[in-house]
């Protein structure tokens, strides 16, 4: 039933991967809108952002997330649960870093309700963080399933999870640039 399957890449001919690509396309519009909202309100919140954000610390945690794109690629290529576990660990480190940053901000009185910067910052980074969390759940499910009986995980599942994780990573490249780098340059 699959038409013209021979000439096109798997991303647009494989049912699962095409679904993931379409899902990510719609997610991109979603994040685009939230980033636009951040940028539209950037100037009004810039002083607060400068006073409260820690570029270096977040950069270190970001490196963990960026590195996890590499580990997930290896995991998908080798279909190896241990590399998935490594990806999970890196993603968890990132999320832990974000959690500690949230805690520090909330303790100093910066929250979604405190001022415009808090509203836009927590919304944008929070929505990204939720996507990381979903990715961690997907990674855990994949790792557990791959440890069970042989053939339990369809080959395409590795690639689908990997595509999603790359997307979450790519969104962070934009968010980190806009929110952190953009505040200090």
């Amino acid at each position: 039933m699959i038409a013209d399957a021979s000439r096109a890449p798997a991303l647009v001919t494989n049912r699962t991967l095409l679904g993931m690509v379409l899902f990510i396309s719609s997610e991109s519009i979603f994040f685009f809108a939230v980033v636009v909202a951040y940028l539209a309100n950037r100037d009004a919140g810039l002083a607060d952002a400068r006073a409260n954000l820690d570029l270096l610390r977040t950069a270190i945690f970001s490196v963990a997330l960026f590195a996890s794109s590499g580990t997930v690629a290896v995991a998908a290529a080798r279909r190896d649960g241990r590399w998935i576990a490594a990806t999970f660990a890196l993603g968890a480190i990132f999320l832990g870093g974000q959690g500690s940053e949230y805690l520090r901000l909330l303790q100093t009185g910066v929250g979604p309700q405190s001022a415009l910067f808090g509203t836009t910052f927590f919304t944008l980074t929070g929505l990204h963080g939720l996507h990381v969390l979903v990715g961690l759940i997907a990674l855990a499910a994949l790792a557990l399933a791959s440890r069970s009986r042989r053939g339990a995980v369809r080959p395409v599942a590795w690639e689908a999870v990997s595509i999603y994780w790359h997307f979450v990573d790519a969104v962070w490249v934009v968010v980190f640039t806009v929110v952190y780098v953009g505040t200090f340059v």
């Binding site: 636009v36 909202a37 539209a40 309100n41």
Partner: protein, 542 residues
Amino acid sequence: MTAVPLWVLRPGGSRAAGWLRTVDHKEIGVLYIGMGAAFFILGGLESLVIRAQLATPEAHLVDPELYDQLFTVHGVTMILLAVVPLLVGFANYLVPLMIGAPDVAYPRLNALSFWLSLVGGIVLYFSWIAGGAPDAGWFSYPPLAGRSFAPSPGVDYYILGLAVNGAGTIIGAINLTATILLMRAPGLRVSRLPLFVWMVLVTSILILGAYPALSAALVMLFVDRQLGGHFFDPTASGQPLLWQHLFWFFGHPEVYIMILPVMGMVSEIIPVFSAKPIFGYRFVAASSVAIAFLSFGVWAHHMFAVGLSAFETFFFAASSMLIAVPTGVKIFNWIATMVGGRIRLATPMLFAIGFIAMFIIGGLTGVSLAVVPLDLETTDTYFVVAHLHYVLFGGTMLGFFAGVYYWFPKMTGRLLSERLGRWHFWTTFVGLNVTFLPMHWVGIQGMARRMWTYAADTGWGPWNFVESLGAALLAVSMLVFAANLVRSIRAGAIAGDDPWDGFTLEWATTSPPPPENFRSLPAVTGRRPLWDAKHPDRRDAA
């Protein structure tokens, strides 16, 4: 002739549990259509209360607070809970049949998208018994929709309901896109797709591009209302206009989401009832792609009155006029298809021709609203209400009824009554013109939309009374339609597989189709595979 029980719509069985757990695209299509019909009735009843309140000046049938809730929920209902599910339902039912596939690409996901859409609608309606329905208009502009001016939980139900419903719609669009791209019968190239399928493909891509912007805006409104945020709060340097940009970035493509599938239906029906191939197939398909592309660049024409810069005003006026061109192309395609054809004026064709006529009126007022000075004079008046109802009722609903009369025999195995169909058509056609045509002139005279009532010395009373009579006639027309559906499903004439001498693959299987859709498929070598199979001597060029 024995009566066919209702479960004929669901070949798999009759138990309610079957409907709850079904993953068959035809059954899910019927569920979507049932959802759309139920909310269409609710939205219709709301509009009848609105018309009753406006029938005479200075009336007190409902109080202003209830009136605000009624027009808000009427708009949200008709757009997101009636029209979109009705069209998605037809797409669900028909696309796999028209492309010769056994089901959609992700059957279980299909069930999820339906149930999310339905639950979203139920959440919205739950607000009526949970402290008040949303009352800030279907586009819920902040600060009106913010905590201080809308303290009841209505807007929160609006946010939650639309977010859940939108997630369902997005998932459904992913499914239909993948189905059309991956599941076509051998030989059914994209350049041979039935035009309804083309329109569903374009519509699905519009949904994927537009709905996420609404979801994002809803999240921000949620943060503002529930977490004390300031996105749209001008007292804390927030920007109310940001909501309008995001909302209409969704809202204008949404207009095309509601019209393109219907244009696809009409593009199937007019050729069959003219016994000719569509005139300019490539132009019909390509103009839809053009509409889809342009529809993401016209959103701020809803915002001319807020004080855009000169450049923005010029840009959005120009792009809005430009989008009339591919729309006009289609009108000419349909008319040219009829020219020289052997036209059968059966009910589907009547509604299709009615659609063209009414859509031209709605289209012309639409393109005149792109003229900024005229827009500034008529913003938020009944002129706009008249325009949008000509497009949505005169356009979408007439075209949709054409589709119902055309495909009902495929879904049930029985034809709808032509006699009742004619009554349905003429009462609808007259009713909608009596209801919506006078809105143009009271609008130009300055009658504002969304006003609870109006003074007697405005002189708008007589025309408003006429409009309300038209609404009553529309209600009667819907009763005629309902009678036709109920009678025909039980005792309508047996349709057979191919009652209209159709062109496309859905007519090559039984009516209703078996669970697997096809026992055998005709070879597809052109755009009208069934015509080719029936007329081997007069095949279309490959």
